[in-house]
Every structure is written in C-alpha cells, then in structure tokens.
Symmetry: C2
Subunit: 151 residues, 2 copies
C-alpha cells in the first residue's frame, strides 16, 4: 500500500467549530453534498485507522495531515440534512434524523468534538494517543451510523 504525501494542513484548522451553511438548489444537491463530505471524511479517517490498526506503517506526518482533513470535513455534512431530504439520491438517512433532530445534532456534535481531539493529538504525533483518540472518534461515528443510517 502506498502512502503518498497527504494534504498539508494547519493546526489552526482545529478550531473550526460552527455549523455549516445550508443553501442548496434542490434536495438532491443537499443529499449529494452530505454524502460527498462524509465520503471524504471517511477516506481520511480510514487512513488513520489503517495506521493505528497496523495495516499501514505509522507515519506521524501523514496521521496529522489526515486528522486535520477529518476535523475540517466533520463540520460540513450536517448542513445537508435539511428538511425535504429524507428521500432521494440513494440516501441511507433514516427518518429518525428529522424526528429527533436534537438527538441527531448532539450525536453530530459529539463526533465533531471527538475528531477535534483526534486532530489535536495527531498534531502531537504520539501513536498511542492517536490510537486512543481514533478509537473514541470511531465509536462516535459508529453510534451515529447505527442509529441514523440504514444498512
């Protein structure tokens, strides 16, 4: 498996914190947007996972770069879960997202906090800390997917 140079990122990106903008031309655009953002986030998260699970050599710089992308991306997809996007564009989003919006938002916030922590430790380069933080963030991802994403 090749480990090429990842995106050069900035520590300041850790602080991105407020909710993303919602302004879509049509419902399917919102769905494609959230799926795209989730996909990009998942790819970079998975690259850290490969390292902490010994499926790829540990590379502190690469872990830091990927974590920064994950932290940045984590803010984006939720803007796409707007009313009227419960169906369409092959969405796996469950209706519960809109029925219990506060709970969904809390789960999203938890994930964002966890990946922000992952990013913070990843910038430090300590593999054990990254592994622990990755595990916590992974739990948040899974909890939300289990609850709100159809198989």
């Amino acid at each position: 498996m090749k480990l090429l140079t990842a995106v050069a990122t900035c520590a300041a990106c850790i602080v991105i914190a407020s909710p993303a903008s919602a302004q879509f031309q049509k419902p399917d655009d919102a769905i494609a947007y959230r799926q795209g953002a989730m996909n990009v986030m998942g790819e970079h998260f998975g690259r850290i996972g490969a390292m902490v699970n010994n499926k790829a050599p540990f590379d502190a710089k690469l872990a830091a770069e990927n974590a920064a992308v994950v932290a940045f991306m984590s803010k984006l997809p939720f803007a796409g879960f707007i009313e009227g996007t419960e169906k369409g564009h092959d969405t796996k989003a469950k209706p519960a997202i809109w029925k219990e919006a506060d709970k969904f938002k809390a789960a999203a916030t938890k994930m964002q906090e966890d990946v922000a922590k992952l990013n913070t430790v990843a910038q430090g380069g300590n593999m054990d800390e990254i592994k622990a933080a990755f595990g916590e963030a992974g739990k948040s991802c899974k909890a939300c997917h289990d609850e709100y994403r159809a198989k």
Copy 2:
C-alpha cells in the same frame, strides 16, 4: 433563499498547498472520493457565485467562509485521479486526464492558485475583488471541465 451561518474557518487555511494523499481500497473508492470532494467544493463555490451574480445578498462573512472551504477542498480531489480509475462509478472523467497527465496537473494547479487568490481577497471582504477573483477561478474550473470532463 436562506443564508444560514457557514463554517467558521481560519485564514491560515489559505496556505494549504501540497498535493493530497492517494490511498484507496479500490478504484471506485477513488472515484467516489474525487466526486465527493468536487461536489463539496462546487457547492461552496456556487454560493459565492450566487452572491457575486446578485442571486443572493452579498454577505462578506459568508463569502469568506465559503471561499476558505473552497480553498481547502481544492487540494483534495486530484488524489482520486489515480491509474485504473478511468472507468467506473459513473465517472465523467475523460481518458485525456491520464494521457496528458502533466497538462491535467497544470490545470488543477491553476485552479488551486485561483481559488487561493479568491480566498485571499474573500478574507478582505471587498465585493468587487471577490467578484473579479471568482470570475478568474470560474474560468479555471470551466477550462478543466471542458477539457477533461464528459458532458
């Protein structure tokens, strides 16, 4: 059209500059990734477009936030144009991407430079400057799409 609060970003994000990492499990993952990243970039770029084309009220903060997302996203998709991803996952990528890789890379770099400039002026908040930089960046997007993306 509602203009909700967009992602809070950081001026330091302007400087992200090196190529993105390529490390995909399978070719379709790379295609979905690049499409996802392009989608997210396009959404935020389009929001600036709506403002500079008087289809949405000009909001300097929103323009700055969207431009920062565009600049960040511009670094990501090209990692997905790896060998073996000429077909699959409904890609519209033309074979020329791989036949004239240097030319494609130059076009990608031109776009990245143009959106970096857009981001720089967007952080300043001057509508006329944003409009001019948006126009230049839009030309780069279009040139590359005309050349390398099937209709």
